[in-house]
């Protein structure tokens, strides 16, 4: 557990920054809700002024910004999902790439520790971090939710919206982890993985908006945990979660297989 302990300590500062920024944004957004809800009629007018595509992107063709779950799903959930994915991708990529980037892998591989063990400890670290990240963000957001939102809402839907991002975040962390084998400079692997997150987000948007291209949604992890689906069904599709987990397993397994036979030259 040496590497795990070390990694847990080494990354907590960036975790705190990300949690504070994202949870802070959530609190600010939730604080706006009361004034939104008051003027719900005006709001509907406003929404109708926007093009239909716009509403569709945020699921507002099926959700109502004026009710608590609709507001949370479109405003808060969206941010946690997207920005959290960037955090996760950077975490997964950086945790592996930094060793070769800073030549510290020379130090680590001189110890009596197998490569498999190093990878396992690093995977455990990012899994722990992602769960911790979502837990902290959710706790803070929930506190704000209770303070600012007085209308009735579905606790189950809210809870599901807090759990769902974890699977997407894990997926991007695992893909970043794999990418770190091919881009050993941290700066390049960060660009690649952030590009992947943003790119796949837009693939999802295109799938939503373009008739005939809706099959593209299977390429975008974001579409597996669609907010409107979760809120309206009060459930997350088990199949979707399984697919995301399978992607995780495949990415991590590929990383193990390649890393074990890799020439480490720094």
């Amino acid at each position: 557990m040496n590497v795990f302990n070390r990694e847990m300590r080494a990354n907590y500062r960036s975790l705190l920054v990300w949690v504070l920024v994202i949870a802070g944004l959530n609190v600010l957004v939730l604080a706006v809700y009361p004034s939104f809800a008051e003027d719900s009629a005006k709001l509907q007018d406003l929404m109708e002024a926007y093009p239909e595509q716009f509403s569709k992107i945020f699921g507002l063709d099926r959700l109502n910004l004026g009710d608590p779950m609709g507001f949370y799903a479109t405003e808060v959930y969206f941010m946690v999902l997207l920005f959290g994915s960037i955090f996760a991708a950077i975490l997964g990529a950086g945790i592996l790439a930094k060793e070769e980037d800073e030549k510290t892998i020379e130090f680590l591989l001189a110890r009596p520790v197998t490569r498999t063990r190093i990878l396992t400890d690093k995977v455990l670290t990012y899994v722990t971090y992602i769960v911790g990240f979502n837990l902290l963000v959710s706790l803070i957001s929930y506190a704000a939710f209770v303070i600012f939102i007085t209308q009735a809402y579905s606790t189950k839907a809210l809870l599901l919206l807090m759990v769902a991002p974890v699977f997407v975040h894990l997926t991007f962390a695992s893909l970043g982890f794999l990418a770190a084998l091919f881009f050993t400079r941290r700066r390049s692997v960060y660009s690649v993985t952030i590009g992947l997150v943003v790119g796949l987000y837009f693939v999802g948007v295109i799938a939503l908006l373009t008739r005939g291209l809706d099959w593209l949604k299977w390429l975008s992890p974001f579409q597996y945990v669609d907010a409107a689906d979760i809120v309206l069904n009060e459930s997350i599709s088990a199949l979707n979660i399984l697919i995301l987990l399978a992607v995780n397993v495949a990415a991590v397994a590929a990383t193990y297989a390649l890393y074990r036979r890799r020439d480490i030259t720094v």
Binding site: E102, E106, F107, L109, R111, D263, I264, T265
Partner: protein
């Protein structure tokens, strides 16, 4: 018992040659020098032994264990100082030692006395952050992390580069202690003199191939020096006439036993010399010199002439 045993070990990076047919045996308790110019394959050999890179051909065993299959087990008893040192910038020296020691049997608490002792010997401030250390101090951190667990085999890749002379001396004292304790030392360098001083046997590697493995005693008869003399004027007191002919005559006067190679260029004469320095100085004293350099020659030059001579 052989501590390191390689059999036609080969490493290619794609098509680029790393090492070729390296066959070596290092016995327990030996101090073994591994010498060659930059890019000859010293680090490649070491990195293959530690399984940072995978051999393209051949086999190697350390402590009788396979370098690929049993690498982690091997590394439990190896201390490695890499040529280029990289450590976790955010850690203090002490935190790094804790991290390093945590991987070995007994952990930090058991290895702490040795760590403290080594940090004192090398005058390292344990609270300093790694990123605030100079290159020389980073090198010293590298030495301590390689030695802290009293390894059975020490693999040192150019350990003296970047160290000031005082610290080099301390390093050799510490290494002598390790050797006395029973450790085997595998020592790569491109400085012939330190290998000659310290090692029992030496392997010479060039362009990926082992040229030969030699008892250091046999190399010792030739402590080489590069001598460069600039005469003040052509001719000198001996009145052998002016111009280049005069220099040639002076150079002739420097023809004494131990001159392996001689080059004359205007008033400058360069010698590769492995004879009696006193005799050289006596000869030079007869001339009017503008300047005189004595330095350690580049390795390639020494070997070139060493083997030319051997070939005759």
């Amino acid at each position: 018992m052989a501590v390191i045993e390689t059999e036609r070990l080969r490493k290619y990076y794609g098509k680029a040659r790393g090492i070729e047919d390296v066959t070596l045996t290092v016995e327990e308790g030996e101090i073994f020098g591994f010498i060659g110019p930059n890019g000859a394959g010293k680090s490649t050999t070491i990195r293959t032994l530690l399984n940072y890179i995978f051999p393209t051909g051949g086999t190697a065993r350390v402590f009788g264990l396979d370098i690929v299959e049993d690498s982690a087990q091997i590394r439990a008893q190896v201390g490695y100082l890499p040529g280029e040192v990289g450590y976790y910038d955010d850690m203090s020296v002490e935190a790094l030692m804790q991290y390093a020691a945590g991987f070995y049997q007994g952990g930090y608490s058991e290895h702490r006395p040795r760590i403290d002792e080594l940090l004192d010997i090398f005058e390292l401030d344990r609270r300093r952050k790694i990123h605030a250390l100079s290159q020389g101090n980073k090198k010293k951190v590298g030495i301590v992390q390689a030695l802290l667990h009293r390894p059975r085999l020490l693999i040192l890749d150019e350990p003296t580069s970047g160290l000031d002379p005082l610290m080099q001396t301390r390093l050799f004292e510490v290494l002598a202690g390790e050797h006395k304790r029973g450790a085997t030392i595998f020592f790569s360098s491109h400085v012939l003199s330190e290998v000659q001083k310290f090692c029992h046997r030496v392997a010479i590697i060039k362009e990926g191939r082992i040229l030969r493995v030699e008892e250091v005693e046999k190399l010792r008869h030739g402590l080489f020096q590069k001598v460069r003399v600039v005469f003040r004027q052509a001719g000198g007191d001996e009145g052998a006439g002016g111009g280049e002919a005069g220099v040639a005559a002076q150079a002739q006067a420097l023809d004494l036993p131990g001159v392996v190679h001689r080059a004359v260029d205007g008033r400058t004469v360069e010698l590769l010399f492995s004879g009696d320095v006193n005799e050289l100085v006596r000869r030079l004293a007869r001339h009017d010199l503008e300047s005189l350099w004595l330095e350690e020659p580049p390795l390639e030059e020494v070997f070139l002439h060493y083997y030319e001579k051997e070939g005759r």
